[in-house]
């Protein structure tokens, strides 16, 4: 499956002998990197990586330019076409498609084939388009339901394994005067997370991917079943009110103040919760519960490095890609002092953190359906934008479903020609 990063992450081969962090030959010239790791912690990591790589090769100068992460999403086009740098940051799977199709990302299949990138076999799928690989991942993170353990204990609830248990829990939470889930859908993508999970659980990972690649219809019975399940939650008042006016950060206080007990989010939410004063006794994590009897698929967005096709110093760029994916570097940058996420190299060790460990365990052992990237990364950009708008509208006005589905189906027929 094109978009899946098969969950053989489990194969933690302990044979770490192969890992070499840099090529033997010495590199010269300048290596130009443009990175979108602009938030404080990732920025420090990126600057450290550039400095370390620079120090390792006496003949090489590393020039690092860090650009704003949101701005990069539209700047990458100019960067790749006019005076391109050697190495850049981007995202895995379908998000690579425009640049791969335009021939702007370097094909590095040979590096995977000849063993230059040991330990990356499990994540190779997410970097593959038409049988060729176009970059390396450097980090990924799980999605799932983060919940208030203390409130669950107070109400005598346990982590649900099935959707019926989820709804039973939610009913008790609503009865206690709280909301089950906080969400801020102003910027739409959070609703995409809910749809991903409900659809993967109701119809299975493979159907979800068919929908993403335009093979399945939005007006199909399967999609309707997904929305029917979603509607159960909406009708019982599970979500906070007026979520369309909040960003995902603005929705955090509902969780922190205990007005809502759970948040379907990526693992990047954890530092925010800790900063807001919640202790690890108060927060916990569980996998999105089972709905139909289908293998569980998971969202685990992957961030990547690529070499520009028109790069000037490809030898150094390739050595840098080897360097960032090597087990030691992976362990370090994804550690608790770094990104606090999951390492991509099977030989790297996972940080000793309650949430990272649970996420690693879940993705390794209990994501047998497959691993998706995320709604706005798996679906083509235009479908994602029209789609997420429809999802938000459904969450506010569930009665408009028929109209929304017809609109999305029209969009599907136009976009995937």
């Amino acid at each position: 499956m094109l978009n899946s990063m098969k969950a053989s992450v489990a194969a933690v081969a302990v044979t770490a002998g192969l890992a070499t962090s840099a090529m033997a030959e010495d590199l010269s010239g300048t290596l130009r990197i443009i990175s979108d790791m602009s938030n404080p912690a990732p920025r420090a990591i990126m600057e450290g990586l550039a400095a370390d790589f620079d120090a390792m090769h006496s003949g090489l100068t590393v020039e690092l330019e860090v650009v704003d992460r949101e701005a990069w999403k539209s700047q990458i086009r100019n960067a790749l076409t006019a005076n391109p740098p050697d190495v850049i940051n981007w995202y895995a799977a379908n998000r690579m498609a425009p640049y791969v199709n335009a021939g702007l990302f370097e094909d590095i299949s040979d590096m995977y084939a000849n063993g230059d990138l040991p330990g990356l076999d499990s994540v190779k799928g997410a970097m593959t388009m038409d049988g060729k690989q176009y970059g390396v991942p450097y980090t990924y993170y799980q999605w799932g339901i983060y919940y208030r353990e203390d409130i669950f204990n107070e109400l005598g609830l346990t982590e649900p394994a099935t959707f019926d248990e989820e709804i039973a829990n939610c009913q008790k939470i609503v009865d206690s005067g709280r909301k089950c889930y906080t969400i801020g859908s102003k910027f739409l993508w959070t609703a995409g997370g809910w749809f991903d999970y409900l659809n993967m659980r109701t119809n299975g990972f493979d159907f979800h991917m068919k929908l993403a690649t335009g093979e399945a219809e939005w007006t199909s019975d399967e999609v309707r079943a997904t929305f029917a399940n979603w509607r159960k939650l909406i009708d019982m008042g599970a979500f906070i009110d007026d979520h369309q006016t909040y960003s995902w950060q603005e929705a955090l206080p509902f969780f922190v103040n205990g007005e809502a007990t759970a948040y379907l989010m990526g693992n990047f939410v954890v530092p925010h919760l800790r900063e807001a004063g919640l202790t690890d006794d108060q927060i916990d994590f569980y996998q999105f519960p089972k709905i139909a009897d289908v293998p569980m698929g998971e969202d685990a967005p992957t961030d990547t490095f690529h070499i520009a096709s028109n790069a000037q110093n490809k030898a150094a760029a390739r050595a840098f890609l080897q360097f960032v994916t090597s087990p030691d570097v992976q362990t370090k940058i994804n550690g608790p002092d770094g990104l606090g996420q999951l390492p991509v190299n099977a030989n790297a060790s996972v940080a000793d953190d309650e949430f990272i460990k649970q996420g690693f365990e879940m993705l390794s052992n209990n994501a047998t359906g497959g691993i998706a990237q995320f709604f706005d990364r798996d679906f083509p950009a235009e479908m994602a934008s029209v789609g997420m708008e429809g999802l938000q509208e459904f969450m506010v006005f569930p009665d408009n479903l028929e109209d929304i589905l017809n609109r999305l189906e029209d969009a599907r027929q136009r976009i995937y020609k």
């Binding site: 102003k186 369309q244 950009a381 708008e389 506010v396």
Partner: protein, 304 residues
Amino acid sequence: MSTAQSDMSWARRNRMILTPLLFLAPGILFFAIYVIIPIGQSFNISLYEWDGLGEATYVGIGNYQELVGDRAFEISLWNNVKWLALYLLAIPAGLFIALFLNQTIVGIRLYKSLFFFPFVLSQVVVGLVFSWFYLPNVGLFDIITGWFGIDVRGGILGNPNTATYGIIAAGLWPQTAYCMILYLTGLNAVDPEQIEAGRLDGAKGWRMLWHVILPQLKPATFIAFVVTIIGALRSFDLISIMTNGGPFGSTRVLSFYMFEKALSEYGFRMGYGSAIAVVLFLIMLVFIGYFLWQMYQDEKAARR
């Protein structure tokens, strides 16, 4: 005499034509490069299907045909009309505040500054202040309407029926201040003798305003109209800050929709974005044409 004239070089003989042309040249050059040529390019790109990276495919008027059936485009177009119509309220509102402030009492300069203050603020700040004002449950607006038992579902900005009006109201705040300043300066130039004459003829109140003062404020009104129309058509920043086009696309205007389709994270349909830009340009052309014609008439009258 005739020999003297033939001695003069070609440049000297034609200097009455050449001099203005030379002075105009830099302006014309840059206007052509940055305005005229890009307009032509937009027209051209709007006939193609192009993602900004690969090859462009010619689709003729395909993009325009798609626009006709595109509901998001229709909503954006109607929102533009709402903006144009309601934004004009800034003109009478500015006039009445100016009339009210056009008196000599202690501290009037302070009051004038306070009324002018919102215009000094960046649109981004205005947008942020109003979005807090409109917040559901905790926002001041919601609390005040709550006293009267009115509850807007989702808050002003979260409800597709009210969101656009909420943003327009936010935009009117600085725009009214702008019009007020234009009228205050205009009122300084009102001829006291005409008012005196009007008073002797028994005009006062509305009649005085309508027949004596407003005609003298005509230049100020024209400028206020121009800046308000321009302001309404470039409402992009407030929308981006306050709702980002949402909820579900109900507050987009053409400029915002064009940006989303052509240049935003999920966009890069250059041809379609250009087609929207062309439609927006044609709407603007109506006003630009009117302004130019009006200015031409004034010049003609002044020369006579």
